[in-house]
Point group: C2
Chain length 431, copies 2
Amino acid sequence: MPVLTNIERCSRYEGQEVELRGWLYNRRKSGRIAFLQLRDGTGIIQCIAEKSVLGEELFTRIRRLPQESSLVLRGTVGADPRSPSGFEIRVTGVEVIQEAQPYPITKKSHGTAFLSDHRHLWIRSRRQQAILRIRHLAGRAIRDYLDDNGFLLLDSPILTPNACEGTSTLFATEYFGRPAYLAQSGQLYQEAGAMAFGKTYCFGPTFRAEKSDTRRHLTEFWMVEPEVAFADLDDTMDLCEDFLVQVVGRVLQDGLAHLQVLERDLSPLQRVRKPFPRISYDEACLRLARLGTPVEPEDDFGAPHETALANSFDRPVMVHRYPRAVKAFYMKADPENPARALGVDVLAPEGYGEIIGGGQREDDLSELEAQVNRHGLPMSAFQWYMDLRRYGSCPHGGFGLGFERFVTWLCGVPHIREAAAFPRTLERLEP
Amino acid sequence: MPVLTNIERCSRYEGQEVELRGWLYNRRKSGRIAFLQLRDGTGIIQCIAEKSVLGEELFTRIRRLPQESSLVLRGTVGADPRSPSGFEIRVTGVEVIQEAQPYPITKKSHGTAFLSDHRHLWIRSRRQQAILRIRHLAGRAIRDYLDDNGFLLLDSPILTPNACEGTSTLFATEYFGRPAYLAQSGQLYQEAGAMAFGKTYCFGPTFRAEKSDTRRHLTEFWMVEPEVAFADLDDTMDLCEDFLVQVVGRVLQDGLAHLQVLERDLSPLQRVRKPFPRISYDEACLRLARLGTPVEPEDDFGAPHETALANSFDRPVMVHRYPRAVKAFYMKADPENPARALGVDVLAPEGYGEIIGGGQREDDLSELEAQVNRHGLPMSAFQWYMDLRRYGSCPHGGFGLGFERFVTWLCGVPHIREAAAFPRTLERLEP
């Protein structure tokens, strides 16, 4: 009886007969021998089928089998130093489960629109598999880091009653006769969580109906948002730094084979080590002027500024104390300069831009009320949030990391759409 | 210098001075001594403050401090066999970070509406903390089980273009000029995932705009949906069984203290062992008739049937091969009786009802097309899904577990709303 296993584990069964279940990824023929590349989601392995073993009829069928036909294949595992996995299979039997129709994704290069239309099939290709495996490993590393450091996963709601930061970039729905909106962030709920549990996080989908069709934007994306009670801006920056060092380190360790498939230059990831440079917005502006990419006074950074700034360091850089006017209402003012907010952005190297935004939150009730009024927000919608300042307020902070943008950078791929299994952009809601 | 730590770790520092940061949970006074219950999200500990140590002014302030005031407290850790944690703190210093306003949740019993309006504060109470800790542990156990068993986490999209199973229970939104809907399930996308990766799962929020206001329904809830290629109904039932045994076992192991806070009867959880009874729908109908809860012929089960059936077994029961007419279009027909679908529901004990629904999917293209037509669904919307049957189709199956319903049962609480941090129901979209 052959051992039922998968391609990843084949190496354990050298010299034994195994049974694999998968799909025909590629094949070439050479007289009485057919070389079949079998994929099963855990890897790809070369399988050598001989006419003398399979017989005329089955061999002829195998030789003509369309790509992506599903197979149950039995054979003997042998070492093969020429193969990427180090092993190959000498086929002893094949059962064709389904003979595929001619597969639409061929070796010729397809346009992005075509591949995106066939995303449900495109994810079978080696490169897309490597990206989505890195996504999986990065997600696991993030959860493990937070869980192991005392954070409670507290899922923030998606359906929310108020358009807290204006309705223009929100998706709206009708909720049993009332308006509701899809959350852009779970942070405010995490602040309630931190006051209850000390440290919490959410890691779920968030939504932005932004009309920006860039390689950095999705309309639906996952975000991880940890929040910590009794933490100030410095504590928050320490957390950003430790989080990134640990998570990137774990992805490098567990995902090396996938990064190699992507031909990822590992050195920018290997340089993610403590300490990250920490510079203020004002210092960053001086540096940007010297670099020939000046910023308008008191203005937020655009993508060119982020790229120029990040390129001037060898690892992620933390920029803190932005102008309060360009940042969200809940950020705490810098007591040493009330025109500056105690916020921090972490910029990734290689032009990948801001991957983390965070900071210390306003914990004083009257200051926060003044901010809500200053931003023209509806006070009634924030009464529950104000309660967090009425009953046991304390310094607290946290951050948000855009997960797909992070994965895009880890993989070194040019466009964020490849970092999601079924990406949603301005132009695309299918498949 | 006191050691900065938290309540959970205090036991490591017996005889030493520690610094804790948290909130006043309760207090009582007795002359020159004040007993403060401090909570910090990791636990609750009794702290003994003496006038002779703190001085008249601070002691007087402490004695009057409102519940939920935030504190930094220093003191010496001592063993105290009478305390639930086994330890207490002899206070050496207290810093009041914020003196809370009078806290709205008092010892008197509040109605559910009041507590739900104050959900952002209610989650600070001991019972709610225990439930949300069990939720966290159950979520981690689920992810670890699947990750350790070769499943890839492949997030299904939330925004979807088609109302696959009718619009009546869907939340709709406008997606840049077109209609879009919030997904009720990620399963169809997981089928694409399983054909690409062998085994995948999603674990994210799903949405049902159902007008059923029961103790079992939320409009927004998390669902975990694993899917496996080359798996039939029996394989799927094996997976359900192993999944529940392992996850419940891990929660019992890691979450015992929280289950004890909830005074959960552990025996129904301890009885979650293999093998689960597996009975067909037809067998279940005979049993229900004997139990005095007959089912209309070919009808689906209602809550009373699920409860009666589950109560007749000592552990979760798997009911398979329901009438095809009451099940979704994608279920594979039983080759031995085409009126039955190769689906399975897992019913939890103690009246908690269906926690898992799953089964084997239709893998034959023409059968699936016929089903889409039979259900009056728009074929064009399913072309991508049909592709999975055109290119390497194979027997495959999986299931969906409603996470909050599962947590409600684990905790033995009467209403599903306590299993979510910020539950959404027919009547409630806040806070």
